[in-house]
């Protein structure tokens, strides 16, 4: 049985903000299915009482003094923007 359908691939692509063609959806469905099937070998392991590791070092919250420092100059921040106007990033219409 297939673990991931073409419809699921399209849904995931939408969540990830990727436009994909029908052809790509079919290709990714096949490839992701193979990877996920492979990943399911982890189910051989009983991990009921194993804590998850998100980070390998024994690190607590890292704090610093709350001292204000200068931010980046506006011209630097906008330097790489594909489009800008009046010191702001410009994007296409958000509402139709």
């Amino acid at each position: 049985m297939s673990r991931i359908s073409i419809e699921q691939v399209k849904h995931v692509a939408h969540l990830a903000r990727l436009a994909i063609t029908e052809e790509e959806a079919a290709m990714f469905a096949k490839q992701l299915d193979a990877i996920i099937t492979f990943a399911e070998q982890l189910n051989e392991l009983d991990t009921e009482n194993v804590p998850p590791t998100s980070h390998v070092l024994n690190m607590k919250n890292v704090m610093r003094e709350d001292v204000p420092t200068a931010g980046l100059p506006l011209e630097d921040v906008l330097k790489n923007a594909p489009d800008q106007q009046d010191g702001q990033f410009r994007v296409p219409a958000i509402l139709e």
């Binding site: 991931i4 969540l15 390998v56 070092l57 890292v62 923007a81």
Partner: protein, 485 residues
Amino acid sequence: MSLFDYRVSELHNLLHKKEISVSDLVDESFKRIHEVEEKVQAFLTLNEEQARAKAKELDEKLATEKEFGLLFGMPIGIKDNIVTKGLRTTCASKILYNFDPIYDATVVERLHQADAVTIGKLNMDEFAMGSSTENSGFQLTRNPWDLERVPGGSSGGSAAAVAAGEVPFALGSDTGGSIRQPAAFCGVVGLKPTYGRVSRYGLVAFASSLDQIGPITRNVEDNAYLLQVIAGLDPMDSTSANVDVPDYVSALTGDIKGLKIAVPKEYLGEGVSEEVRQSVLQALKVLESLGATWEEVSLPHSKYALATYYLLASSEASANLARFDGVRYGYRTDNAKNLMEMYKQTRSEGFGNEVKRRIMLGTFALSSGYYDAYYKKAQKVRTLIKQDFENVFEKYDVIIGPTTPTPAFKIGEKTSDPLTMYANDILTIPVNLAGVPGISIPCGFVNGLPVGLQIIGKHFDESTIYRVAHAFEQATDYHKQKPTL
């Protein structure tokens, strides 16, 4: 004879004695680049004008100053996912084809403070996702030992440039083997430091809990000198560790008497080629002759590392790469009527297939209904893999095995099936999951292709790794072999 046949410490002495200038070193780099770059294609961007100007400036300083650091005037190449102020940084992705960073990564700043000279930016798999550098959005880098073969990846440009003698050393990054595997394929020395040893500030994030920047060099001593400069706590990276940085070069004593080596049976078993296995066993004999002992051990969860890695790294990548949206930097599509279309078209036109595949895998593993079954499960198995290493390190000083199952493969050989490509990393991935340091050094040749020996150490014990690697290097001459280009 190239100037880069000397060790960095020897070049430093030549500078001191005024037998060479910084301009000579920088000239050597660009001379070699002009000779071989057409074949190797390691660099995405060259910094020639600025590097030559910097060399002049340093030569003036050299005339008046008596004391200067070891990296003073040394040419260096930087992987293109490490940001360099005013020097284009693309991550080998079309989505960042024109990105001009407004600050330097911490490692780059430290190199500047040490007066190293940036020669250029090195090719890689797009966003460091790959094992052959074939996923670069711009060009194909070739292995200097055999131009029909891949240099490895994702730091393929860094390893190839060092092997080809274009720069004496380079920086790479390693998320699942991306420094060690190309170092093995190109016959050079590559270290992935302990997670947290080197600041990630300015390293474009792929999988934040696994990524580390590290040095790629022609010998172990140079590697130690380079790590010395880039290691240490950085207030700009809250995951950089507040652990003292020892003097790495002083660890290079050549003495490994009484050293206890663990050799995991999983690292010499199924999937590892007979020639690679023999090279590693031969290397162990060399280490035995120097007074070390070795025993076979087990890292029982090794076979689960690959699946664990692809779930975790892809999940983290799907979050990290959300920032490439066509708003603040990089590529933006021309064909969009509204914002949602702009996001989707920009990302679809800007990212390559491997990056899209991993973003989708990660998005799936993190999505509602699948999170526990895939992402959380993988985090739990990560704990078991980490414990495997802790158990072995209770009794042994280092773990040794091959870096890769085979020497460099042919261009195009593994591109059709993602899982076949991923399997190439089975021996390097567990190290990233456990967060421990590992190095690859040359330990032999199979049909003219280099083989890498992987030495893995305890958390923050790069010194012992270097000591073992250096002792082996002193007893062999693999690191002195050079490809004919």
